[in-house]
Structure formats: C-alpha cells, structure tokens
Symmetry: C2
Subunit: 205 residues, 2 copies
C-alpha cells in the first residue's frame, strides 16, 4: 500500500524534494504546455548527479522511453521512466535557460530562469552545488530532424498527462517550471504554467 502527496510547482519557479530510493514520482503537466527542467542529485553526495551525456550512451538513444534508466556521472542508474502518458517527447540536448539566454533574446533586466531556480531550490533545503548539470527537460519538444537540426517547438503533451519516475537511490530531486516566455518552449502562447509533483510513498506503519 502506498499513499501519495501532491505538490505544486508554480509557473516560473523551482522546487527541491528529498526522496527515498524506491519511490514513484509523477511529474504532471497540468496544463499540457509546460516544460519541466529536472535534476537529480545523490542525497548522500551531490557530486554524483544525473547526467544527460552519460545517460544517452546508457540508454542508446537521445530520448528516454518507458523502461529506460537515466544514470549519473558515475554511470549508476538513478531514475527509471516507469510511465509516460505525455506522448514521449522530451529533451536531453539543451542546457537550462539562464540570464544569458534571455539577454541574447533581447531582454533587459533580470529574467526568471531555470538555472537560478535550481540553485535557489537547493538553497531552500540547505544545499549548495557548484555547477549546473544539463537537465532532463521533460515535455520539451526539440528533437533534431534527420539532418541533426534542432528547433524548439511547442510541447505535444496533453493537459494532465504525466511521466512517472522511480528513484533508484536516495535523491534530491529538483523541478523547475521553465520561465521561458520569449520562445515557444512552453507552447505557442509562450505562457509558463504551474505543474504538479505527485510523490508515492510507503504507507506509514
């Protein structure tokens, strides 16, 4: 028996969770249009973290499908994709957005961004990590074409669709509801939205 608890990740914000090994974590694309930058750190040693460049070789593909495990920079499985009702389009290729990205797009002044969200969310739970791993960009629609050309298109995930990830070790998970509002990353309307995180834990005895 398990119980679940649902958490809100507000549009443009990030949130960190300590999650034990063997937990199922659902990332729910509540409005369907929202990309969720996702990171995982070994709770016992954040120098070990989920790595896209190691995961692509381990999976043998660009984009995880149900059954695939993502691995750390020490090549250990860390998250397994258990369910995917989103259409299966995600991204492992692109960096988290950052202040530089918005300045290059023409924004002046401070813009919310996933890189700052990661570090703020870690700070909230008392952690500092001196680098920004490439994230797993859930629901991001940027698969290269047959010539390897990359364009960012609106997500295809239906409202309320989700991915379920099983934690393989004790983790710190961080999710950022990407603040991108100057490109169609988060839909043609370029309007970041809330998402929900549902964590299935063992029933307390």
């Amino acid at each position: 028996m398990t119980i679940s608890e649902t958490f809100l990740v507000r549009a443009r914000e990030g949130r960190a969770f300590r999650v034990a090994a063997g937990t199922d974590v659902r990332v729910v694309n509540t409005h369907g249009t929202q990309v969720v930058d996702t990171w995982a750190f070994n709770a016992a040693d954040p120098a070990e973290f989920m790595s896209m460049e190691h995961s692509r070789l381990h999976m043998g593909r660009l984009n995880p499908i149900v059954g695939d495990a993502l691995v750390t920079n020490f090549r250990r499985p860390v998250l397994t994709l258990k369910e995917d009702t989103s259409g299966g389009v995600h991204d492992t290729l692109l960096a988290a957005c950052d202040q530089y990205r918005y300045e290059l797009l023409g924004y002046s002044g401070k813009h919310d961004n996933c890189t700052d969200n990661l570090h703020a969310a870690l700070h909230e739970i008392g952690l500092h990590v001196p680098l920004t791993p490439a994230p797993l960009n859930l629901f991001e629609n940027s698969m290269p074409d047959a010539n390897g050309l990359i364009t960012i298109k609106p997500p295809i995930s239906p409202p309320g669709s989700h991915v379920a990830l099983r934690t393989e070790i004790d983790l710190v998970l961080v999710f950022s509801a990407c603040p991108q509002d100057m490109a169609p990353t988060n839909g043609a309307a370029m309007r970041p939205c809330d998402v929900h995180i549902q964590i299935f834990g063992p029933t307390p005895s």
Copy 2:
C-alpha cells in the same frame, strides 16, 4: 605572417595548451581512426568552459559545421570551426570515457580514460577544475539515426585529415587521444593512436 608549431598527443594520453585569442589550432587525425576529446576553459576563469548543451542550441544542430561557433556555459563563443577535412562527423552527445565505463565493459583494474587525462593535463599546467564538462568528441562517429538511436561506429576521417579551430578568447585547451580499446570508437581495430596539434601563432616581432 604566422608561424606554426606541431605538438604530439600520444595515444591514450591528454595534453593541455594555453592559447591566446585569435589563434588557429589544427587537430590532425594522423592515422584517421582516432577520436580526440576536446575541452576549452576560459584562461582567466576556468569556471567558464565550452559547453555542449549550450553549443547545440547556439548552433541549432547536433554537430558543428564550418562557420559554427561553440559557446561556453555563459553562452559566449569560444571556438569557431574554420576548416574540416575529416568528413564532418563529430560528436557532442557522449560523456568522456572514465574508469566506470571500462568497468561496465568488463575491464578489471585501472584503465586509461579521457576523464583522468583531462584532469592530469590540467594538473600539469597548474590548474584544477572540479568538474568534467561534456567534451567535443572530434572525429567520433555516433550520430543518432532517424529514430534517435545512438551507436558508436568507427570514425570516417581519412588519415592526415584535420579540423581547424579558431580561439575566440584566451583559452586553456585540452585534448585527449581517447584510450577506448573495448569498443570501435577508435576504429574497428580498437587501437588508440597518436594525434598531432598544430598551433598557428603570430610571427614574433
């Protein structure tokens, strides 16, 4: 007028170079079958480094072609691909090999690897960098197929072919002649080979 100097990077080893902005650096695939893991760090601040996940968005493609610039984690151009006589097949997707990789392939004992080569080469010039960025894997033949499936195939680069990279800022460049001898990364014979680095500097006045 410029002069050039040629340096050897021995099979299975790495080597670091301090190179001023505006320099042309040729990476010569002397035997044609050798992958060269390549890193670039801002000489003034190694916390800024060439980043594959930022470069793919900047270039709009998986694989650099002549004229493309690779960028740092601060999204600044750092190396521009000026010439490519190798056939144009490189890799930006896969992590540097490491001890874990060889253990997973069944090797017992210490195996030479590009990750250790990077840090040893930096140490030789008095630098310490607390992370291993994803490298630009010159000549590596691992482009995904139309379904996004990744397999590592022997390089297609002819013997003596090269890429020329122009430095856009003062850099520390590191090259590792990949020690992979348990997969066809470095050719069907799985035999790592020497490569050469040719650096074109201004004529001393």
